[in-house]
């Protein structure tokens, strides 16, 4: 059976997962993967799949994996999509429930303007076409945490379509080998979140919390342009950064503000796509990648052993590291979609189509939103690379860690040290310390000013590199001290007095004549630091 080598390399808290084909990385496999995509007529951007093809036993045919994603991002908004209830994480159960959220008969949905604007912003940031007219539909299914018996969504005509998302994955053994890929975005739709069911097994009861019921979601549908867990996870990570930069979602996976379902299939390159399975409710990027890679491996294994892949919904068990079929008693659901009759079509305008004399409170101008889009992560990274001569992979790391970029920029502001030096210190030493103690940037005992001061000392050669490291360790341990204080307390200053230095050198050389030559070089090096 084909060996799927999974390499897990840590970049701080973030991780990169690469599936490595036993044989050629740049060889035939990748090319075939590409061909098969073109055949599907879907790939708009020429891209090398990371490793789309699995070579199986000698002489046997290869496999290509196809991965698509459905991502639900909770819209960051004070109130819900169709009601005035507040939105808070971890509020007391059923404390944020309006009559509409509880589906009291006779209540009607009223669309939240903020949610529409968030969808437009996200659509624009993801290069989508914004539909000036979009529609709402009802999707029916009976579930205890879905009070109305249907979810209001945008099935027929969503608010944004045909976008794309560029993301990067590491392709080689070195982190510097980064490759940019693009995944097409089929659509972004506005929809309601459901409530939460809490199953009390011992008492065989289900408790319902409707606080989340009706919270606005952006469903972002990514086309099956990905071929492994790392690609999917990297795409999700990039989307997360974009949503956070826009402020349209906090996109915190641990708090369920970003939830991912993955559609996965495998096939022989050049042949039709295989039967796909859906892995639901992946709530961390790491599990997403693990689940996808497991599922690819599982499907190949099944097929190679003459079994079939069932079109089914599976869940990922993070403890066992495998996917399992979800119990779905009723088999395939027919959602009996129907237009939502209580919401007129959602009309958006641009400056050209804005009706004269329209009340700005009643209309949404796409151009107005476009003009006010904040800087996106891609642009930020580009600027970092240009402005500071930073390596691309460093720009990624800076953005990936919450608060790290801001920390970096604050250090830059206050130090005379070269940006490259700052980058190196922030990414290697500072981040390393954070990781070691599992801290977030805002929990760091070292402030940007302190690091800036330390780098200034280093820059004007007041201390040596190794002394700087010592100072940093001390800064980390004893909050409140400045680098200068530590330097003088520990007597870490470099000797600036030429004569004194020469005296020391002479003493050393005289004491160790046999290593004289070697020692001179070291001493020279020492003073040059």
């Amino acid at each position: 059976m084909a060996a799927l080598v999974v390499r897990l390399s840590c970049l701080g808290k973030r991780w990169v997962l690469a599936c490595i084909d036993g044989g050629s990385r740049h060889g035939r496999g990748a090319a075939i993967g590409l061909t098969s995509r073109r055949k599907r007529g879907q790939s708009s951007v020429a891209q090398q799949p990371l490793i789309a093809v699995q070579k199986s036993r000698k002489g046997e045919r290869e496999w290509a994996a196809v991965v698509g994603l459905e991502i639900h991002a909770q819209i960051s908004s004070n109130s819900k999509l169709f009601s005035g209830s507040q939105v808070h994480f971890a509020a007391p159960p059923n404390s944020l429930v309006s009559f509409f959220d509880a589906s009291l008969p006779g209540t009607l949905p009223v669309l939240n303007r903020r949610c529409v604007e968030a969808a437009v912003m996200t659509g624009l940031a993801l290069n989508c076409r914004i539909n000036k007219k979009s529609l709402f539909d009802r999707k029916h299914y009976f579930y205890a945490d879905l009070p109305a018996g249907y979810q209001i969504t945008q099935q027929r005509l969503p608010i944004a379509v045909n976008g794309c998302l560029a993301y990067s994955v590491s392709v080689g053994k070195k982190p510097s080998q980064v490759s940019t890929r693009t995944v097409r975005i089929k659509q972004i739709q506005l929809e309601q979140d459901s409530g939460k069911s809490l199953h009390d097994e011992p008492r065989s009861q289900t408790l319902i919390d409707l606080n989340r019921a009706g919270v606005g979601l952006l469903e972002v549908v990514l086309e099956p342009d990905m071929s492994c867990g790392e690609e999917a996870a990297s795409a999700v990570r990039e989307l997360q950064l974009i949503l956070q930069a826009l402020g349209t979602s906090q996109a915190n996976m641990a708090e369920g503000q970003l939830r991912v379902d993955a559609n996965i299939s495998v096939h022989h390159p050049g042949e039709p796509l295989g039967v796909r399975t859906e892995v639901k409710n992946l709530n961390s990027a790491r599990f997403l990648a693990k689940a996808i890679d497991f599922e690819i491996k599982r499907q190949i294994h099944e097929l190679e052993n003459g079994r079939k892949i069932l079109n089914e919904t599976r869940s990922f068990d993070d403890k066992l590291g495998c996917t399992m079929p979800m119990r779905d008693k009723e088999g395939k659901q027919d959602y009996r979609f129907m237009p939502e009759p209580n919401l007129p079509p959602l009309l958006l305008y641009d400056t050209a189509s804005l009706p004269p004399g329209a009340d700005p409170q009643q209309v949404i101008n796409i151009d107005w939103i476009r003009e006010r889009l904040p800087e996106l992560p891609g642009k930020t990274r580009e600027k970092l690379i240009q402005q500071y001569g930073m390596l691309p992979e460093h720009s990624f790391t800076l953005l990936n860690e919450v608060g790290l970029l801001e920390f970096f920029q604050n250090v830059i502001k206050e130090t005379r040290a070269e940006p490259k030096k700052v980058t190196s210190w922030v990414l290697n030493i500072f981040l390393g310390f954070l990781k070691q103690q599992n801290l977030a940037v805002n929990e760091s005992p070292v402030t940007p000013s302190a690091l800036a001061e330390l780098l200034n000392l280093l820059d004007r050669k007041a201390i040596s590199s190794s002394a700087a490291r010592q100072v940093f360790e001390e800064l980390w341990r004893s909050k409140g001290k400045t680098p200068s204080q530590i330097v003088s307390e520990k007597k870490l200053e470099l000797m600036q007095d030429q004569e004194a230095l020469e005296r020391v050198c002479h003493t050393v050389m005289e004491g160790h004549p046999q290593v004289g030559v070697e020692g001179r070089r070291k001493a020279m090096h020492f003073s040059a630091c």
């Binding site: 009559f99 509880a102 589906s103 009291l104 008969p105 006779g106 209540t107 009607l108 949905p109 009223v110 669309l111 009802r138 029916h140 009976f142 205890a144 009070p147 109305a148 018996g149 249907y150 289900t206 319902i208 008693k329 027919d334 009996r336 979609f337 129907m338 009759p341 209580n342 919401l343 007129p344 009643q362």
Partner: protein, 527 residues
């Protein structure tokens, strides 16, 4: 006093001839005397007396809230009323007390109206007889009228009169009966396929269905969201206009209401009939139409013509597809709207708790009657992926064609359409239940439901009594959002026909002093 119109009694209140409390008490006592009509599901006596008292204080201070202050009104039991049970005549909602008022209810209360109670209907407004609710059928007050009884005596051969009472039509039969029996001066109904106009025609009152979007649906427990409108039942067109003036306008809680502000209005007493063009849709000359109704219809057309109006035959070519189309769209939305009744958040919940699914199934089986369950079943069938295109989408296309039929006719210069409201006068209950609900609804909505699919305003105006001494109504259909013009024409027509007042003295001997009923005046359209 009770026999007066809303406008008349409003004047009496303002002039101090009667106080709101006296008026309220008279209505309450009449409600008790007519309890056998089964018009009310809940009589909100305490609330009503309290509201009347407050109204009285306002009048004393000279701070009346306007024409509706102190006026007893009734509301169909599918409008949410805060702290008053709202049942939809269903086991599913027995005991359900909404925590909020429907917008229309709130507007009535804000204008000082006195809420007498919640009126009976077919379960979830699904029916055309007001016979299929869990609280039993509503009896048509005309069954007990002098006019009807006299006619029956001539024919009756020892039949048991009590078993021959007539249906009110529906589904707002309780509201129609409440207004017809003088227990209130105006009532809210709902109209999805004719549910306000049909019982209005059978009970000899005015039944007005406003344009879709003119009046808020917030708080109206839906049947078909895209067709439902709150309806108004009154004893004359003027009264309907007063109530409409209080209810119309944008509601931020109902996104389908119009944005433009609606100004209150009063109807002029005179319409320039000679400038009007009245359309008579030829497709409405159905074979099942009773000869009497047909004859009144043509007399009405002649009346307009004789007063100088242009009366022309017009065509609404897609009329014959209308009922089937209505059936598909109605049941589909019903299937969706009824999904929320699962016993979890409110309403009935069964005792079975082996699983959530079993609980749902038993709750819904116990909570809904056969009619509701039948519509849910067909609606879900039409919405299935494999059927959606063939049924729902097609029905939507036909709906568009039907709406366009009206647009075309109005664009050709027609001001209003004149049609029958129902095929015949009200039938006895025993006759009515020989056919099932579905057949009855299909027959009885024939002239009314197309209007709902097109979102147009329409009003049923009582015209005359049939040979049996029962009311017959005719329907006027207007252009979308030309509700005022429609009512103006209806008012002129009402004045010409002088429909007789129901004579219930025998029934309510001891209340007869409350009635100041003119003698049956000459009816210009009498056969």
């Amino acid at each position: 006093m009770l026999g007066r119109t809303l406008r008349e009694v409003s004047t009496a209140l303002k002039q101090g001839h009667i106080t709101p409390t006296e008026l309220c008490q008279k209505c309450l006592s009449l409600i008790k005397k007519t309890k056998f009509l089964n018009a009310y599901i809940t009589v909100s006596e305490e609330v009503a007396l309290k509201q009347a008292e407050e109204s009285e204080k306002r009048y004393k201070k000279g701070h009346s809230l306007g024409d509706l202050d102190g006026i007893p009104v009734a509301v169909k039991d599918n409008f949410s009323t805060s702290s008053i049970e709202t049942t939809c005549a269903s086991n599913m909602l027995k005991g359900y007390v909404p925590p909020y008022n429907a917008t229309v209810v709130q507007k009535l209360l804000d204008k000082g109206a006195v809420l007498m109670g919640k009126t009976n209907l077919d379960e979830f407004a699904m029916g055309s007889g007001s016979t299929d609710g869990v609280f039993g059928p509503v009896k048509n007050p005309w069954s007990y009228s002098k006019q009807y009884r006299e006619k029956r005596k001539q024919k009756a051969h020892g039949e048991n009169e009590d078993s021959n009472w007539l249906i009110t039509g529906g589904s707002s039969g309780g509201s129609a009966a409440a207004v017809a029996a003088f227990t209130c001066f105006a009532a809210l109904g709902s109209d999805t396929g004719g549910s306000t106009r049909n019982p209005a025609a059978h009970c000899g009152v005015v039944g007005f269905k406003p344009s879709y979007g003119l009046v808020s649906r917030h708080g109206l427990i839906p049947l078909v969201n895209s067709m439902d409108v709150p309806g108004i039942l009154t004893r004359c067109v003027d009264d309907a206009a007063i109530v409409l003036g209080m209810l119309a306008g944008h509601d931020p809680k109902d996104s389908t209401t119009i944005q433009d502000p609606v100004k209150p209005f009063t109807l002029p007493t005179f319409a320039d009939v000679n400038k009007l063009c009245i359309g008579i849709p030829k497709e409405y000359l159905a074979p099942e139409l009773s000869s009497e109704v047909r004859s009144f219809w043509s007399k009405a057309a002649n009346l307009f013509e004789s007063e100088g109006a242009k009366v022309i035959e017009v065509s609404l070519p897609h009329t014959s597809y209308s009922i089937v189309c209505y059936h598909v769209l109605c049941t589909s939305e019903v299937a969706s709207n009824m999904a929320r009744f699962d016993g979890l958040e409110y309403g009935h919940r069964c005792d079975i708790n082996v699983s959530t699914e079993a609980m749902y199934a038993a709750t819904r089986r116990e909570g809904f009657n056969d009619v509701v369950r039948g519509r849910i079943l067909s609606g879900n069938f039409f919405l299935l992926k494999e059927n959606y295109e063939n049924y729902f989408i097609k029905a939507q296309k036909v709906r568009r064609l039907i709406a366009n039929d009206f647009v075309n006719v109005f664009n050709s210069g027609v001001d209003v359409l004149l049609t029958p409201t129902t095929l015949s006068e009200a039938v006895p209950y025993l006759e009515f239940i020989k056919e099932d609900n579905r057949t009855r609804s299909a027959q009885d909505d024939i002239f009314t439901q197309a209007v709902n699919m097109a979102g147009l305003p329409a009003v049923s105006v009582p015209v005359a009594l049939s040979n049996q001494g029962l009311p017959i109504g005719l329907q006027f259909i207007g252009r979308a959002f030309c509700d005022q013009q429609l009512l103006k024409i209806a008012k002129w027509f009402e004045k010409q026909v002088q429909f007789p007042v129901i004579q219930l003295q025998e029934l309510m001997d001891d209340c007869s002093s409350d009635f100041e009923i003119e003698k049956l005046s000459s009816v210009s359209l009498k056969q």
